[in-house]
């Protein structure tokens, strides 16, 4: 009962094998002819060697020279390896990516949702894998890490979920933005029931994400000592604005948090959770999403920020399509260029100048296949 249909992938590999077989049989003269022809075609089409994921040391116009660079890995959603090795292979691929960067990034941000259901086996597996990252790792927490034991094990492994630090003239604030109002006590839910409800993106029983009053007070105090001209970069797992409430692509007290960031000249928020190429600007604040290594989310049916250029509709037949990792170049000006390293596709950079100009300059390439 063999499969009658050969997938295009199979056909492609067969053709490819036949091509390389054929190459072996070429004599020197024929080889030169083929090579010359290919070079001619490439030159004729105006193609250049594609820009790789490696850092490029080009100082362009003023202020666009990177002052430093950091990379990110996010939303790995690990199960234990014996249950699901697919997501494990994905995080390993991302670790290889960031370890292969030359020059190395100053640090690697982990964007939250290391685990799928916050279980010890999952978090510890993730912690173990992240130890093989060469650059220092900055951790952020996601809701999948938190709601089984309310962050107990995560804090044991990685420390406080909210903290700040300064790096080469930029002030960084890391938030725990996935707190939720208690929906479990009254319903008498077990910790795992609570975890699974939060893990379901379209599960309406849960509350909406929030940073919460206590953390906002801490943030206010932390920012009080920072000069208003200092560039500020905030890491938060949920987008720090209101995109689509039913899927918690949302932070309920986003307005209050944005108000704290308003006095600063240059603010960038890097967030996880949405698993897609996502771009927004609200006044002085620029927002960039991060890719997941595990799976891409579809764009929400409404509320998509105007400045977002959608990424291609992912091909379900490719395990890695729509997934990836990325890099953030912090420019001299204090703005950032955000690189989405989409696996198996050309990387896409969303430049600070694109957002600063309100979409007039440096627009990223558009997709031919937006979501349905």
């Amino acid at each position: 009962m063999g499969n009658k249909f050969r997938s295009i992938e199979t056909k492609h590999y067969e053709e490819r094998d036949a091509f390389f077989e054929g190459l072996k049989r070429l004599d020197r003269r024929a080889f030169l002819r083929v090579a010359g022809m290919s070079a001619g075609i490439v030159a004729g089409m105006g193609l250049r060697t594609p820009q790789s994921f490696q850092l490029v040391n080009v100082a362009e116009a003023q202020g666009t020279k990177p002052r430093f660079t950091f990379a990110y890995i996010s939303d790995t959603h690990l199960y234990e390896q014996k249950l699901n090795d697919r997501f494990v292979r994905s995080i390993l691929k991302a670790v290889d990516d960031v370890n292969g960067l030359d020059p190395q990034p100053d640090f690697v941000l982990f964007g939250g949702d290391l685990a799928q259901l916050g279980q010890a086996g999952e978090l510890k597996l993730g912690a173990q894998i992240l130890k093989s990252v060469k650059a220092p790792v900055r951790m952020m927490v996601g809701e999948h890490d938190w709601f089984l034991d309310m962050g107990e094990l995560w804090r044991d492994l990685f420390g406080a979920p909210n903290y700040s630090f300064d790096h080469k003239g930029v002030h960084f604030v890391v938030l725990n933005s996935i707190l939720e109002k208690d929906f479990w006590t009254e319903r008498k839910l077990t910790p795992m029931e609570r975890m699974k409800i939060v893990a379901g993106l379209d599960n309406g029983i849960q509350s909406r994400f929030e940073v919460g009053g206590e953390q906002r007070a801490w943030m206010k105090q932390d920012l009080a000592k920072v000069d208003k001209k200092t560039p500020v970069i905030v890491f938060s797992h949920s987008p720090l604005y209101k995109y689509y409430r039913p899927w918690n692509f949302w932070t309920d007290d986003a307005d209050e948090v944005q108000a704290l960031l308003k006095p600063f000249e240059r603010v960038t928020v890097i967030h996880g959770h949405t698993h897609q190429l996502l771009t927004n600007r609200i006044d002085n604040i620029q927002f960039h999403g991060m890719l997941s290594t595990a799976w891409p989310w579809p764009y929400a049916p409404e509320g998509l920020p105007q400045l977002t250029v959608q990424m291609n509709r992912p091909d379900p037949f490719s395990q890695f399509d729509g997934c990836g990792d990325g890099r953030v170049d912090v420019l001299e000006s204090g703005l950032v260029d955000k690189l989405y390293n989409l696996w198996e596709r050309n990387p896409i950079t969303v430049r600070g100048s694109y957002l600063a100009s309100g979409g007039k300059q440096d627009a990223p390439p558009r997709t031919k296949l937006p979501s349905y």
């Binding site: 249909f5 699901n84 509709r313």
Partner: protein, 274 residues
């Protein structure tokens, strides 16, 4: 049939049986429509002697069973007598109603059937099982007129399809919702769908988004052939979910189709859309 094919068929039968058992044993989610909408009830009078009172499905007729107390069980013979008496009472109230006679024995096409007695006396007939239809088919005399009269609405006569009550429609809506809810359950449960790596459909498709059922059938380049929605459901079950594809008649596949279509209500059908 080769031995190998027999094995496949056997495995398929086992699978669908297991699926059926799983569906039958899992608590079905109660549709909201059933919980909130008050359906009309048949209040039967209370017996003075505490006897059992049986109500009829017409919502009006009832019968006190002498010698059997409320809460006691009827024997089969008693039950047959009670249902016969209730039916007779209904016939008296509805002398013009046609009650489909028992299906006649199957006869070859073209053969003339013996004329059947209209409304044969009780005991000589059983209710129709749906196999045969009285000569002339379903007509307005089948009772539709009465229902319309009760509903008090001025609508066109002529066929039973005009004669369904709000109760009927509530039952249909609730059944449909139950079907969709079952699909929601399977869609959100890696075990129910037969996954082996704890991946469920909703993990990539919250609210069944990006499943675009309105675009099928379409040529699926990666499969090298034209696909229906169910082909893609099964593809997902086999690949990202790492389960076994479901048979066409599998209740879980049918329920998931119901759920996915329900999420796209109002979307324009565009088969073949890229």
């Amino acid at each position: 049939m080769t031995y190998r094919m027999k094995l496949w068929v056997g495995a398929g039968a086992l699978l669908s049986f297991a699926g059926g058992v799983a569906l039958a044993t899992s608590p079905a989610p109660r549709p909201e429509a059933l919980q909130t909408t008050e359906l009309p009830r048949h209040q039967v009078p209370v017996s003075k002697d505490g006897n059992l009172v049986v109500g009829m499905c017409d919502g009006e007729t009832s019968l006190e069973v002498k010698g059997v107390k409320e809460g006691q069980k009827l024997t089969r013979a008693q039950a047959a007598r009670v249902s016969g008496e209730l039916m007779d009472a209904w016939r008296k109230k509805n002398p013009d109603a046609n009650w489909d006679p028992a299906p006649p024995p199957v006869v070859a096409q073209g053969q003339k059937q013996a004329p059947q007695q209209k409304n044969p006396p009780m005991g000589t007939q059983k209710p129709a099982t749906g196999g045969a239809v009285r000569e002339g088919g379903v007509t307005a005399e089948s009772g539709g007129k009465e229902v319309r009269k009760q509903a008090g609405v001025n609508i066109q006569d002529g066929h039973s399809y005009g004669a369904f009550t709000q109760r009927d429609e509530a039952v249909w809506a609730a059944s449909t919702q139950q079907f969709v809810d079952e699909g929601h359950r399977v869609f959100h449960d890696a075990d129910a769908v037969g996954g082996t790596i704890a991946v469920s459909c909703d993990m990539c498709h919250p609210d069944a988004s990006n499943t675009h059922p309105e675009t099928y059938p379409k040529y699926q380049v990666q499969l090298g052939r034209v696909a229906l929605l169910r082909d893609m459901i099964n593809w997902c079950i086999e690949n990202p979910v790492r389960g076994k594809p479901l048979a066409d008649g599998d209740p879980r596949l049918r329920a998931m189709e119901a759920y996915i279509y329900a999420q796209r209500k109002g979307t324009k059908l565009e088969y073949g859309k890229k």
